[in-house]
């Protein structure tokens, strides 16, 4: 059943992948623009989901299967959820939030363009002579390839990452607990548990 696919050209011709890539890229760009221009906070977060999902599809089209699903799992599944969570905990009114505009849009645009220019230039320069052959079934075990290069060549950064994550974790706990000291005790009169063992 599946083997038959190798003899047929499949649903997307090679150029089809490129066309799809371009279209998805445009959609992603559009979603990103809406994300930063919309006046409604939660809508911005949801458009961010669309933009991040679009990027995941782009990864998929570049046969970076594993990275694509990491993108979905980490960015869509947890970072955006964290973001929404934070918005809901603080304040995210339905409708426009006029105070969400910091009146810096021209500076922001300049920074964004500069950052984009730098990134494109750096990436294009770094990978100028490297090509991914998306057309010849490199999808086989993309995860395995990632894993073997990670644990053959990048072990030290990998271990350093764990230290970094630990630092982030401790930092988050320390920050949130110091904030808890400032807060008044819980309104129900119970002793605030965050002040338990100090």
């Amino acid at each position: 059943m599946i083997h038959s696919a190798t003899h047929h050209p499949g649903f997307l011709s090679p150029t089809g992948v490129e066309i799809t890539f371009l279209l998805v890229g445009l959609a992603t760009l559009g979603a990103a623009v809406v994300t930063v221009t919309t006046r409604q906070l939660v809508h911005a977060a949801l458009w961010l989901v669309v933009a991040l999902g679009g990027i995941a599809v782009e990864y998929l089209l570049l046969t970076a299967e594993f990275i694509a699903w990491v993108q979905v799992l980490i960015y869509v599944g947890s970072v955006v959820v964290l973001l929404l969570f934070g918005l809901m905990l603080t304040k995210a009114p339905i409708g426009h939030s006029p105070d969400a505009d910091s009146e810096n849009r021209w500076v922001a645009l300049a920074v964004a363009l500069a950052a984009a220019g730098t990134l494109v230039w750096v990436v294009a320069d770094a990978f100028r002579s490297t090509w991914i052959d998306v057309h010849h079934g490199t999808g086989q075990s993309a995860t395995k390839v990632t894993g073997s290069s990670l644990f053959r060549f990048w072990v030290l950064p990998f271990e350093a990452l764990s230290v970094l994550l630990l630092a982030a974790l401790v930092g988050a706990i320390v920050l949130s607990r110091r904030r808890a000291d400032v807060l008044p005790p819980a309104p129900d009169g119970s002793t605030a548990p965050h002040g338990k063992d100090r």
């Binding site: 594993f66 699903w69 979905v72 869509v76 599944g77 947890s78 339905i94 993309a142």
Partner: protein, 320 residues
């Protein structure tokens, strides 16, 4: 054209499974719950033991008015059920049912794909909770998010343990390399995975986000008619997906006597038994409190799954 036909057939099969299996689970839940409580459950719709009750419910839901509260964010409110439902459809296609390519579509990073896509479904609950403009919905949405964050992790870790054992992320690949003693070896991981999955589906005893005695129906409070039905469908599709995944990862999928010819039956049977357990747990246990819920994930499930990973790693390196 043969290829196209194959694809169309698979799509139809997946869609049918997506629509029928959750109904079966739902009807079983009606009946099993009833009998566990000394009742009979639905007896009239369809004649024989109320088999068509959920069909009748569906007809009723479709005829009901679709109320969008005046204060709600209309577009997001209406979109939320679709966001909650569709990830399960996507996941269903990669779950292998039988040997020799009896699967909607084999994806190389299948396990990772499944975990990533299932995590998206929670966005639906969050959207619903926020867009309803209702205190109870908002609280439900917050609880959903917190619960997802607490339980996604043990699920990931337990799944990683299986991937270590099999040395692949492909779901058919995992089942192919399964041996019967894996069930014992991965027992802790399996329990963690199943429990965490239950919590992610917000099934009792982990149904704090929809606790009716506290926050009405959580994020789904304001929903009526078809949109409400889609949320319910998402819950039952979630049960099917969770039980199917647990079967594939920890219970050896199609393995069993005469696996070559009736392997798919084994998968379905194991899935059905797990679905029964899901229902059974619902009837037997009271709801966990919100802080117990969080504590359970972080101080019980995650340490256990870390131990399981260590065990898997050591055994694997020693035996290979």
């Amino acid at each position: 054209m043969n290829d196209t036909l194959h694809v169309v057939l698979r799509l139809v099969a997946v869609l049918v499974a997506f629509l029928v299996l959750p109904l079966l689970v739902g009807q079983t839940e009606h009946k099993v719950m009833a009998h566990m409580q000394g009742r009979l459950g639905p007896m009239y719709a369809g004649g024989f033991h109320g088999w068509a009750q959920l069909v009748a419910d569906g007809v009723k839901f479709a005829q009901k008015e679709d109320v969008v509260p005046a204060d709600a964010d209309r577009r997001i409110f209406q979109l939320a059920p679709a966001v909650a439902l569709l990830p399960y459809l996507l996941v269903l296609i990669v779950i292998p049912v039988g040997p020799h390519g009896f699967v909607g579509e084999a994806v190389d990073a299948g396990l990772f794909f499944v975990l990533a896509v299932m995590g998206v479904g929670v966005l639906g609950s969050l959207m619903a909770g926020w867009a309803s403009a209702n205190k109870f919905s908002l609280l439900g949405g917050l609880r959903t998010a917190a619960q997802l964050m607490a339980y996604e992790l043990p699920m990931l870790l337990a799944a990683a343990s299986v991937a270590m054992a099999a040395g692949t992320l492909s779901l058919p690949g995992i089942v192919e390399s399964y041996h019967w003693w894996w069930t014992l070896w991965q027992l802790m991981g399996g329990l963690v995975f199943f429990t965490a999955g239950l919590a992610e589906l917000q099934r009792p005893p982990f149904d704090m986000p929809v606790a009716d005695s506290e926050i009405i129906f959580g994020a789904y409070t304001e929903y009526t008619g078809l949109r409400f039905a889609l949320f319910l469908l998402a819950e039952y599709a979630g049960i099917v997906v969770l039980c199917g995944l647990t079967t594939v990862l920890f219970l050896g999928g199609w393995h069993g006597p005469w696996a070559g010819s009736v392997g798919w039956l084994w998968t379905l049977l194991k899935t059905a038994v797990l679905a029964f357990i899901v229902i059974w747990l619902r009837v037997s246990y009271p709801r966990l409190r919100e802080d117990q819920l969080m504590k359970f994930a972080w101080t019980v499930l995650i340490p256990i799954s870390l131990v399981q990973i260590a065990l898997t790693g050591v055994v694997k390196v020693v035996t290979s």
